[in-house]
C-alpha cells in the first residue's frame, strides 16, 4: 500500500532535481513537459479578439489622446497591449519607457521595474535582500535578469505547490491586516497572478530605506478605486506633475486583481486560473493548460466548464460588456485631455494657484479613475458594472472641472472653446508635448544592437556555470 501511495505522489518520474531558486523554465520542463510546453506557447502572438490581442497592439496609435494624458510621463512615449509572459523581458528592453541605458546605472528606471518580469527576481532578492534589490537601477541588472516570468514565480520547486514569491503582495496583505498564509488553494489560484496584475507605486519614503524604490500596493484602506484614491491623497503622493495642467497626477497600472475582486465571478469563487488556465486533456492526461492568454481563444475549455451556452453567445457576452464600458471610457479620455489643455490655457492667461486648486484635484481624480478602468485590460469583462460605475464618476468629475475651467477662462477673458491639437495622430501629439521620438528611437536601436545582446550573452554564461542534477532512474 505504501508503495502505491508513493506511486500516486510521484506518478511522474522526475528527471532533474530542482535546488534553490531555479530561474530556467527549461530545467523545470524536464520534469513537467506538458506544463512547460503549454507555457512556451505564450510566445504565440497570433490570437486576436475584438478588443484585445496577443499581438502587442500599439495603444497610443490607436487612441492618440492618451499622449496628452500622460504628457511628462514615460507612458506618453510608448504603451502597448500586453502579450504572452514569454515576452516580458524583451518588451522591457524594447520599450522607450526605459530609455536607452548604454552603461550600468544609466537610464530613468529603477531596478524595481524588473520585479514583475522575471524568475531571476526571486533569485536576486534572496541573494541581495529585498531592499537592496529595490535600490538599484534597471540597467544595473541587465545581465542578471534574462529569464522571463516562469515556473519559479508561482511554484515551490519541491512540492510544486503554489507560492508567493513577491514581497509586495505579502506586505499588502499585512497592511490590510490579513495573513496571506491563510489563503485557500482556490484563492491562491488568483493570488499568484495578484503578485503582478495589480496597481502599484514606488514608495521612496520608507523609513530607513529611502534609497529604495520600494514596490508597494496601495491597498491599506481597501481595494476600491475610491479607497485607493483616498490613500494616495492622504499621503499626498504623485507619480508626476503634468507639464500642461500642472496637476499632480496618479498613474494606475493594471489593477486586474482589484477590479476582478468586485465581480460576480469573484463573488462566486471563480479564480483567474479557472478561465486563463483551464484544464486540458492531452493523450488521456489532464493538466493545467499553462498557455496563459485570452480565454476567448479557448472558450470550450474555459467558459464551458460552467456555462453551457453556444460559444458565439459567450463571445458576444464578452464583447457586449467590453463595448458598453469602452463607449464611456473612450469618451471620457478625450474630455480629460481637453481639460489638461484648458488648464494650460488658464495658467497662460494668468490664473492663480488658488483659482486652480479644485480644478487640478478634479483632473487628478478623473484621470485616476479613468486609468484604473482602462489600464486593466481585462476589466471591462471582469467587472463590467464596477468599471462602468467608475467611468460614470470620472465623467462627472471631469465635466464638473471643465465647467469650473470655462468660468475661470471666461473671467480671464477667454470665453470660448479652447483650441485643441489634432487628437487623431500620435506623432503630432507627441511633438505637441515636446517629445523627440525619432531621436529616442535612434538611441533605442543602438541600445538594442549593442547593449542587449551583451547583457544576454553574459547572463547565459553566468547561468551555464550552474549545474543541473539529474535524478537517477529507479
Amino acid at each position: 500500500i505504501m508503495d502505491r501511495k508513493t506511486e500516486a505522489r510521484f506518478a511522474y518520474q522526475p528527471k532533474v532535481q530542482i535546488d534553490g531558486i531555479e530561474p530556467r523554465d527549461s530545467v523545470w520542463g524536464l520534469n513537467y513537459p506538458r506544463q512547460y510546453q503549454s507555457y512556451m506557447r505564450t510566445q504565440d502572438t497570433t490570437f486576436k479578439s475584438l478588443y484585445n490581442t496577443s499581438g502587442f497592439k500599439d495603444v497610443l496609435a490607436d487612441q492618440p489622446e492618451m499622449v496628452i494624458l500622460w504628457a511628462g510621463y514615460a507612458f506618453s512615449k510608448d504603451y502597448n497591449h500586453p502579450r504572452g509572459h514569454a515576452w516580458a523581458i524583451t518588451d522591457v528592453h524594447n520599450t522607450l519607457r526605459i530609455g536607452s541605458p548604454m552603461v550600468p546605472g544609466d537610464g530613468p528606471q529603477p531596478s524595481t521595474c524588473w520585479t514583475c518580469k522575471s524568475t531571476d527576481v526571486p533569485r536576486l532578492m534572496s541573494e541581495l535582500g529585498v531592499t537592496e534589490y529595490y535600490s538599484q537601477k534597471l540597467s544595473d541588472m541587465g545581465t542578471d535578469v534574462i529569464n522571463p516570468i516562469g515556473c519559479a514565480d508561482c511554484h515551490n520547486p519541491q512540492t510544486m505547490n503554489l507560492t508567493i514569491t513577491r514581497p509586495a503582495l505579502i506586505e499588502a496583505f499585512e497592511a490590510m491586516g490579513k495573513d496571506i498564509n491563510k489563503a485557500s488553494h482556490q484563492e491562491m489560484r488568483s493570488l499568484v497572478c495578484a503578485q503582478c496584475h495589480v496597481e502599484y507605486y514606488f514608495d521612496r519614503t520608507k523609513q530607513g530605506k529611502e534609497k529604495a524604490a520600494y514596490l508597494t500596493f496601495p491597498w491599506k484602506d481597501g481595494l476600491s478605486v475610491e479607497n485607493i484614491e483616498a490613500y494616495f491623497d492622504k499621503i499626498d503622493f504623485a507619480d508626476w506633475v503634468h507639464p500642461i495642467s500642472k496637476a499632480r497626477m496618479l498613474k494606475a497600472q493594471h489593477p486586474d486583481y482589484e477590479l476582478y475582486e468586485m465581480s460576480v465571478h469573484a463573488k462566486r469563487g471563480v479564480s483567474c486560473a479557472d478561465c486563463h488556465m483551464p484544464y486540458k486533456n492531452e493523450g488521456g492526461q489532464k493538466f493545467t493548460d499553462h498557455h496563459i492568454g485570452s480565454p476567448l481563444s479557448n472558450v470550450e475549455n474555459s467558459c464551458f466548464v460552467c456555462h453551457r451556452e453556444k460559444q458565439s453567445d459567450l463571445m458576444t457576452d464578452v464583447y457586449e460588456r467590453q463595448r458598453k464600458v469602452k463607449e464611456g471610457s473612450g469618451k471620457v479620455q478625450k474630455l480629460i485631455a481637453m481639460a489638461h489643455i484648458e488648464a494650460g490655457k488658464a495658467w497662460e492667461l494668468g490664473a492663480t494657484e488658488y483659482q486652480m486648486k479644485d480644478i487640478l484635484i478634479g483632473i487628478r481624480h478623473a484621470q485616476w479613475r479613468w486609468d484604473y478602468v482602462v489600464a486593466s485590460h481585462g476589466g471591462a469583462f471582469h467587472a463590467p458594472l464596477e468599471s462602468s460605475r467608475i467611468i460614470t464618476s470620472a465623467t462627472d468629475i471631469i465635466q464638473e472641472t471643465r465647467i469650473k475651467l470655462s468660468r475661470l477662462l471666461a473671467s480671464l477673458g477667454h470665453n470660448k472653446p479652447v483650441e485643441m491639437p489634432d487628437f487623431s495622430n500620435k506623432a503630432v501629439l507627441q511633438a505637441y508635448i515636446g517629445l523627440d521620438i525619432p531621436a529616442e528611437k535612434a538611441a533605442k536601436s543602438k541600445f538594442l544592437d549593442e547593449v542587449v545582446p551583451m547583457w544576454l550573452k553574459e547572463g547565459k554564461a553566468r547561468e551555464a556555470k550552474k549545474e543541473v542534477k539529474t535524478v537517477s532512474s529507479r
Binding site: 482556490q186 484544464y279 460552467c306 453551457r308
Partner: protein, 209 residues
Amino acid sequence: MGKRQKIKRKLFQYNLIPPHKWRPAATVLVAAIFGIGIYLIRLSNATSYLSDDPQACVNCHIMTPQYITWTRSSHREVAHCNDCHVPHDNIANKYFFKAKDGLYHASIFTLRAEPQVIRALEPSIQVIQSNCIRCHESQVTDARLAGFIDNHVGHRTDRICWECHREVPHGKVKSLSSVGHQIEPIKAHAPADLEIIPKWLKESMNTSK
C-alpha cells in the same frame, strides 16, 4: 436518414420478418394493423416521439406534472426530456430505448394501468444517471471545482445524483393532482387556429374603429 435501415435491421435481428408461407396472411394482418396504426398514430401524435420536442411527452396527460415542473426548472433552457431519459451513447441505442420505452408507456397508458404514483424504473434510473454525468462530467470530476463543494467526489460515486439534487428537475412533489392546470398550449390539443390575440380585439383592430 438511416432510420428506416435501422428499424429493418432490428426487425431482422429479432426474427420479426415472417417466413414465406405465412406472408399473404401476414400481409393482410399487417395492413390492418397498419390502418389502425396510422389512425392511432395520428390521434396520439406518435410521430412526435421521433423528435426531441418535450411536447411529445406531454401528449399523455400523465406526463403533465413532469412537463410543467421541468418548464419551471433550471434545466429548461439546457436539457429536454430526451437529454435525460434516453441513452446518448449511440444513436441506435437511443431510438431502440425510445421505442421500447414508448411502447411500454403507451400500452400501460391505454390500458389505464398506470400506477397512481409513477416512478422511474431501474433501467431508466441508469439512463438518467449516466446522462447527468454525461453533461456534468467536467463539473463533477474537475479537481478544480472540488474546492467549491465538500466531499462531492466521494458522495457522487456511491449513489444517484438526485438523491441529493432532488429538485432537479421535477421537484419533490410529482403527482398529477399536485400540479393543477397546465395552460401552455400543447400542440396536440390546441386548436389549429390558436391565436394569442383574442377574436374581439382582432376584429376591432381590423375595422380600425
